[in-house]
Each structure stands twice: as C-alpha cells, then as structure tokens.
C-alpha cells in the first residue's frame, strides 16, 4: 500500500510507496500499476493517459476532460490493496549474452578484487527483477545484483555504447536498447532486440515486473542470432 498520494500538476497523481528501493516495495508499485491498467481497460476507470511505475512510485497522468485529481484520489483510496496481485502475464525471460563484448570487466575485476569469471558467474546466476523501464524506450532497470558487485558509474561516461550492451551500476543491471552515450560498466552484449520501433503491437520485449536470467553465448552464436 502507498504511504502518501499527492497531485503533481493538475493532471497527475504521485503514489509514493516509501523511500527505499527494494523488490518488495517495487512489487507493490507494480501491483497497483497492473490494477489501474486492468480497471482502465475494463472501463471502470476513465481518463488515464499514462501510468508510469518507478522504483518506489507510481505516477498517473490523466485527461482533465475526462477525470480529475479528486476522482483518481477516490479510486485509489477505495482500492483494497490486500486483494491486488501481480498480473498473470508477468513473464520470465532468458536473454542471451556474449561476454566477449565486455568493455569494463578487467577494471571491474581490479576494483572489486574478484576474478572476471566469478563476476560473470554471479551475473549468470542472478534472477533479475525488472523494477522499471524508461528514460528512453525499452530501457530496463533490473535488480538486484549481489552486493559484492556494487560499482559506481564510470567517472567519464562513454560517448557511444552499442545497442544491446549490458551494464552494471550499484545493484542494477541494464540493457541499452539504442546506441547511446552512457556511464554503466559494460560486461557484454545481447543480440536480442529489446525494443522494436517497427512493431506496433509489441514494441517492447520486457515489462516492469518481469524477471530476466542471462544465458552465456559464444561470439559465433551471437553473430548467428544477430543476423536473424
């Protein structure tokens, strides 16, 4: 259940679930997100334009022609949180990764004082939970990494990181959907297209609340999958 609800502007609501970033708080955020989606598509809640989950907050953006802050407040206050569930279409993904495309493993190994192989092993054995997707289309923020692997962002961000690169910062792991600048520690690259701007029905592979496991592939397999 959220700790506080308040308006953000005249067409938005912030549901604040507390200050911490952990899986259990984020799960509550995503449950409410699924609930609002469902109630909107069932016609029980009108006027919601966007509903954006983040680590510990849900921001609801609505159409002032159809609803207002008070109506959304009433809807939220009448929601029985004990009955909310994660939707059944939550998915478990296996994403191929080729560690030969790493850029930072050497340095990470030095800073963390852990073998490269061990870093890869821990990464492969982590079941990641998708906290949120955003900033740019399709970009997942996944956690939690083992605290042994916690690292800061690069001091100087790279100007160009290729699409598909997999990075780590603190307890999070990401995948760059586009070639873009970035400051995450790059450990490998996936051939899997996680965002497709040509696919109008299913543009984004992953959803908030899904889980992801990585599967190590060779450079040869990478090239093969990449050309598919």
């Amino acid at each position: 259940m959220f700790k506080k609800i308040s308006n953000i502007g005249d067409c938005g609501i912030v549901c604040d679930f507390g200050d911490e970033v952990n899986r259990s708080i984020n799960t509550e955020v995503i449950k409410l997100f699924h609930h609002i989606k469902k109630q909107s598509s069932d016609g029980n809640l009108s006027g919601v334009l966007n509903c954006t989950p983040s680590y510990n907050k849900l921001i609801i953006n609505f159409d002032l022609n159809k609803t207002n802050t008070n109506k959304i407040f009433d809807f939220l206050k009448s929601t029985d949180f004990s009955k909310l569930n994660l939707s059944e279409d939550q998915k478990e993904w296996t994403i191929p990764i080729c560690y030969d495309f790493e850029m930072d493993l050497e340095n990470m190994s030095k800073v963390l004082k852990i073998d490269k192989e061990e870093i890869i092993n821990i990464h492969l054995n982590t079941v990641f939970f998708i906290y949120m997707i955003g900033f740019v289309p399709g970009h997942p923020f996944m956690g939690d990494l083992d605290s042994k692997l916690f690292l800061n962002r690069l001091k100087t961000p790279r100007v160009k990181i290729p699409a598909g690169s997999v990075g780590m910062v603190e307890k999070f792991c990401n995948i760059y959907p586009y070639e873009s600048p970035g400051g995450w520690n790059i450990i490998g690259k996936t051939p899997k297209k996680i965002f497709n701007n040509k696919d109008s029905t299913n543009p984004c592979l992953l959803s908030p609340g899904d889980t992801v496991k990585f599967k190590s592939i060779s450079k040869k397999e990478f090239e093969k999958l990449n050309n598919e």
């Binding site: 502007g9 334009l49 907050k57 953006n61 289309p137």
Partner: protein
C-alpha cells in the same frame, strides 16, 4: 493507396508529423510526444472538417517549402505564421492563417516564418497518408518513433496525402491569439526541497528562455534556485509541464518529448491551461511564474477547453 503527394523543397526547422500524442506506453519508456500547441492543432483539423485526431505537420520558427507534385488538395496553416502560395506561373499570394486554401498540381506553399511564436501547423483535407505506430502518427525523433521512420522531414521527402480535394467551399475560423509570459503553476512534488528565498525568487524574478529549448524541454536562465535537501531524487515518472531543477539551479520545463523518468527535484508544474501559451514563447523571452491552487488550475482548464470549443464554432464559409 492513391498517389497524391508533395515534394519537400525545403524542410523547415524541426518539421514532424504530430497528432494528439501516443499514450499508455510511458511504462515502456515511450514519451507521449504529440502536438505542442493543442489549440492550433485543433483549429487546423476543424477548419478542414478533418477528424480531430488527424495527423498534421508541425514546424518551429520556419516551415517547409512544399510543391504539390500530384493531385489537388485543400490546406490550412495555423498558429501565427507568414506564408505564401506560389502558383505555377510563379505568381505569389500572401496567405492568412486559420483558413483553408485550394492548391492545384504544380503549386507551392512556402511557409516562411512564425511571427513572434515558435510552433505552426500545416494540415490538408482528409489528412496525410502516414501509418500509425501504436495508434498515433506523432513523431518522437529522439527515439526514431513514428512516421517517416521517426525522423524529421527532410529535403526531397515525399509527403503523401489520403485523398483529392472534395470540399468546394473554403472556410475560416476566428482565432483570438495572445502571447503570455506570465505562466501559472502549481507547487511541485519537491517544492519543499528549495530554500525559502529560492521559493520566493522563483515566483518573483524573471526567468529567460534559453536557446537550448526544443520539444523535449525548455531551459531557463535566471536567479539560481538553491536546493537545501537533495539535488537528486529516486528516478520517478515525468509528466509534461514539470519544472525540474538540476544541481546547477537553473530550471528546465519538461515538454512533450520528455524523458519518461527522471531524478531531478521538481519545484513546480505548469498548469494545463497555460501550456499552449508557454510553448509559443520564443527563446529570449522573460517568463514569470505565478503560484495558484489546484482548484483554480482546474477552473482555468475548463475555461481553456470551453474557449477552444467556442473558437471552433466560429467556423464559417469564405464568400
């Protein structure tokens, strides 16, 4: 599909297809985009009797020069825009905004400049022939999403439209325009992160719109806003009109193509009723902000929305 099209002889600045925006996708990282000035967008479609969600071309400061290569059409330009029509004998007619014109094969529309405003709109009867992505033809050029492979219109592009001219009459809509640099806002979610003197400064000093302003955000320059709590917050969902303040203390107003999540504290939010006025202010303009309460913002929106309805009802035949 029919084969009627314009050729782009000059693309103009930031010319893109836009409609009301693309919603229910922000949880995938997709910003709403859509027309910046909703009123001008609505007038463009209404004067042509188009569906109110029909896509139009939006441009900033300077519009495109378009040559009608094949077909006959009726078009309208809205906003506050200087343009002319060049016929096949190179005779030019100066155009007026907010009314329709017939255009014949071989003729050109030269959209010269916006007048003390930023955005203008070009629409044709029946609409452009562009495929929607996730129910919208809005372009999010930063992420290559939307028509024209998600890119801004470029020279030599062909712009297809759905059908030949059918309506015989021409129409006009009476639009009252007004610039406004006093922008009403509500307190933002992190209003209390700022020092008392900075809160006062924000509502009493002028903030100048910088040149670093586009569809994503409007950067302001003025008295530095001091954050006394934290210059970063946990990343959270963004809605347009949010006034975020990064560590340098210079506010940025987030606009239609905003990042979907962000981690800077927000001192205020522009009210929906003032958004069209806000975004039409050109760089160099000094803005001032007035703090109001939610109820007032909701009444202002009602007034704004009634005003659009009234404006659209002034549509009449040009005799």
């Amino acid at each position: 599909m029919n084969n009627n099209f314009f050729e782009v002889l000059r693309p103009g600045i930031n010319t893109t297809f836009q409609d009301q925006g693309r919603f229910n996708l922000q949880h995938f990282g997709i910003a709403p985009s859509g027309c910046m000035d909703y009123k001008s967008f609505s007038v463009a479609n209404a004067v042509l009797s188009n569906d109110k969600t029909e896509g139009v071309l939006e441009f900033a400061y300077q519009g495109p020069l378009l040559k009608l290569i094949k077909g006959q059409t009726k078009f309208a330009i809205t906003g506050n825009v200087h343009f002319r029509i060049i016929n096949s004998k190179n005779k030019t007619v100066t155009g007026e905004c907010n009314r329709t014109y017939d255009l014949e094969e071989g003729e050109q529309v030269d959209i010269l400049a916006t007048n003390k405003t930023v955005y203008g709109y070009f629409a044709v009867e029946g609409g452009f022939s562009v495929s929607p992505f996730c129910n919208s033809v809005s372009t999010l050029s930063r992420a290559n999403i939307g028509p024209n492979e998600g890119k801004k219109i470029n020279v030599k592009n062909k712009i297809f439209f759905k059908k030949n001219r059918q309506e015989k009459n021409n129409y006009t809509i009476n639009v009252s325009s007004g610039n406004n640099n006093l922008i009403k806002v509500l307190r933002g979610p992190q209003y209390d992160y700022f020092s008392d003197s900075s809160k006062k400064d924000f509502f009493s000093k002028n903030y100048k719109i910088s040149n670093l302003t586009d569809r994503m955000g409007m950067r302001l320059e003025g008295t530095i806003l001091k954050n006394v709590v934290s210059t970063n917050i946990r990343s959270e969902g963004i809605i347009k009109g949010s006034v975020q303040v990064p560590a340098d203390g210079q506010p940025i107003i987030l606009l239609n193509d905003h990042p979907t999540i962000g981690g800077y504290p927000k001192i205020a939010n522009v009210i929906s009723a003032d958004y069209d006025l806000l975004i039409q202010n050109v760089p160099g303009t000094n803005l001032s902000f007035k703090c109001i309460e939610l109820k007032e913002a909701e009444s202002a929106y009602k007034f704004y929305s009634d005003n659009i309805k009234k404006t659209l009802k002034t549509k009449s035949i040009i005799k």
